[in-house]
């Protein structure tokens, strides 16, 4: 009997210690997350917005807009990481395959593959560059050279894949203004038997 109670006491103690360590670590970690999770809203981008004159003009002008705010902080990936959890609750604009094809046909925007380098090497959407979302800090120097009003299309494997959202969060902090996620991603692309690219583009 005492053996069972001491076993129980130990179990409770281990759980409490885990809770304590988890909360303390999360509070001080640069990759900490809010304790209560909020719904991420995916909003389908409408054709009228996507193909309107104003957005078209914005993305073709190619004027380099340097983010006025925290430019110095942005130069330092560490402080970037601290900003990052703050923007996790937000909307994402989703586009369909048809919309993507039309955008690609008009040669608009930059296509970013948020998956890992290995997956990218095995095949990716035509013209996409690889920015592995899990190591996005490493690509900061390259991303910072892209004009902030460029139309950026991000994709991952499928709607369940979170990497596209991780990359979009990061770009949003960098004040990119026109972010779109092709939600069906690589799976949707290959299922539609679209053209696959295996050559790498370096950003």
């Amino acid at each position: 009997m005492t053996k069972t109670t001491s076993l129980l006491r130990e179990i409770v103690m281990i759980i409490l210690l885990s809770v304590f360590l988890a909360l303390v670590y999360n509070a001080f970690s640069s990759r900490g997350i809010p304790l209560i999770r909020k719904e991420i809203q995916k909003i389908a981008a409408s054709d009228s917005v996507l193909f309107s004159r104003s957005l078209r003009d914005d993305s073709t002008k190619g004027v380099k807009v340097i983010a006025p705010l925290h430019e110095r902080a942005l130069r330092n990936p560490d402080s970037m990481a601290k900003l990052y959890p703050a923007v996790q609750e937000q909307d994402f604009k989703i586009i369909s395959l048809t919309q993507l094809k039309k955008l690609l046909g008009e040669k608009r925007g930059v296509m970013l593959d948020a998956r890992s380098a290995e997956e990218y090497k095995q095949g990716h959407i035509m013209g996409a560059s690889n920015i592995p979302a899990l190591e996005v800090e490493k690509y900061f120097d390259k991303l910072v050279t892209i004009p902030r009003d460029t139309l950026v299309i991000i994709y991952c494997n499928n709607p369940e894949c979170h990497l596209g959202q991780v990359l979009a969060d990061f770009l949003k902090v960098m004040e990119f203004k026109h972010l779109l996620i092709y939600d069906d991603g690589w799976d949707g692309w290959t299922q539609a038997k679209m053209q696959v690219d295996t050559t790498s583009l370096n950003y």
């Binding site: 999360n26 997350i33 304790l35 899990l134």
Partner: protein
Amino acid sequence: MDAGKNAGRYDFVKLLIDMKNILSSKYILLLSRLLLGMVFIAASVEKIALPEIFAVNVQAYQILPLSIVNLVALIIPWIELLCGVFLISGTFVRSSSFLLSALLSLFIIMLISAIMRGLIIDCGCFGASSDSKVGWLRIIEDIGLLLLGVHIISFTQHDSIRLISD
């Protein structure tokens, strides 16, 4: 030394008495502890480092209410890590393997439920870098680990801070 006390409890093992002797050997127990401990430490590190990704994995199972997903995703890896360390160091061996076995049972139930619902999701078993889809293989892995846990609980009489208990 404990043969008399355990004779009744392990009646059904009488025919497999050799098996029991092997399983209760301190070296086999040590092997189980090290194996289970190392697997869980390995599984926990990346989940702790990248909690957001583990939270997304947990959310994908669509079992927990959204509001507690993050708390679960934060705490579970720490339980895994602590229990793994305790198992290897030989402290709180029974309670650690008890907790891990309980976790493994939960994981197995979640995996089966995900397969039944036809979810094609990342298992989240070892964090982000292991790209492993939910499938029967994951369940077999977890059952294997659960057997290790049960083995440790069944044959560990008392905890010892020494690496091999006597």
